[in-house]
Symmetry: C2
């Protein structure tokens, strides 16, 4: 860890002080960085320090899931990173590679990642939404937002519109299963496919436990 990375971590701890978000905490950052290191080993010419800094700042601006300006979180995070690095005299081209990666990692921003660094950050972050960790985060967010785990009579939404604000399980169809198609690197995509398949097997098991289409009272 370079001095700059250590200073960035301290800055992030300051920014996040007093906040709680079970899906975006220091553990999330650690795992995203671990994924980045795995994915980076299969790519060439990636600025590892810039990638590490992009990881640290990618969720710097934490807005609630239901905030009206939620889609701005990545742009605001990129701005925080860019300002902080500029104040430390970092070269403009390296700053731009960090801010582009942060802006492009977001779903709602809908910005295509143009660089290996941005592709790796996006894949690494999205892997966290899948698999056992993705499931834990999904239901924790459900609980934090006061939603139900699933629709009691129609958990698969066969006869109703999907609504992942109201029903945690709907988030699989609304967002998570579609992540596989957005993966940017071959290894990231293979990992995402395996994790999505596991989530599907979880859902099958859950449906069996709760009685198929859900028991009627």
């Amino acid at each position: 860890m370079t001095d700059l990375v250590a200073a960035a971590m301290a800055e992030l701890a300051r920014l996040w002080a007093g906040q709680t978000d079970p899906a975006h905490d220091l553990g999330h950052l650690a795992r995203v960085w671990a994924h980045c290191q795995t994915l980076m080993a299969h790519e060439t010419g990636v600025d590892a320090e810039a990638l590490h800094l992009a990881v640290i700042f990618h969720d710097a601006a934490r807005l609630p899931k239901d905030a009206p300006n939620r889609a701005d979180a990545a742009r605001l995070s990129a701005q925080i990173a860019g300002d902080w690095l500029a104040a430390r005299g970092w070269p403009a081209d390296r700053i731009a590679s960090v801010t582009h990666a942060i802006e492009a990692h977001s779903f709602s921003a809908a910005i295509a990642p143009r660089t290996p660094l941005a592709r790796i950050l996006q894949d690494a972050d999205r892997l966290e939404a899948l698999g056992a960790i993705g499931l834990a985060r999904m239901f924790a967010v459900t609980g934090a937002m006061g939603g139900a785990l699933f629709h009691p009579e129609d958990p698969l939404a066969l006869h109703r519109p999907l609504d992942d604000r109201a029903y945690g399980l709907d988030h699989l169809e609304v967002k998570l299963f579609a992540i596989v198609q957005t993966m940017q690197t071959p290894l990231g995509r293979a990992m995402a496919e395996e994790r999505a398949e596991w989530m599907s097997s979880f859902r099958t098991r859950l449906l069996r436990e709760i009685g198929g289409s859900g028991p009627q009272f």
Copy 2:
């Protein structure tokens, strides 16, 4: 469904109006009743209507997980059920079978179930804490209480005390795995064992995803 059961459901809807609890909602009641019907088929002499009423009222008094009088929730729920049934002229012995079952279903009350009805309600309710549904409820409660999913450096609590208020995953060791030993009916116990084994496999997978003992940043 008898008229009395329908009236009890209406009473519960009135009691729960305006409250949100992802782990104790109408879907939970429906699944507990479905389990009761499965378990009842292997027992004799169970008063099915009394059991149905016990299911409806077993969480009537909903206290937050962190409420100081949380341990009183089952006693308060039993009192609500008893008063409501007495006002409808139900016989005292049937009321007593309902209130005993509700009081004894609770962990924190530590009252041994003395009747088949009480044993079935306790088993049916505890099955909900295990398996895929148990996992979804566990992480939803974590999110609702503002906890972290797991300890980022020591998720298995090898070098720290367990703390399921702070770390959702700790709830497996603090409470959920031990449920198997408390099961009262042979079928309930077999179902609990299978569900606990699945939860253990979930934890193994989660640990693999997050890097064994947890990645360091």
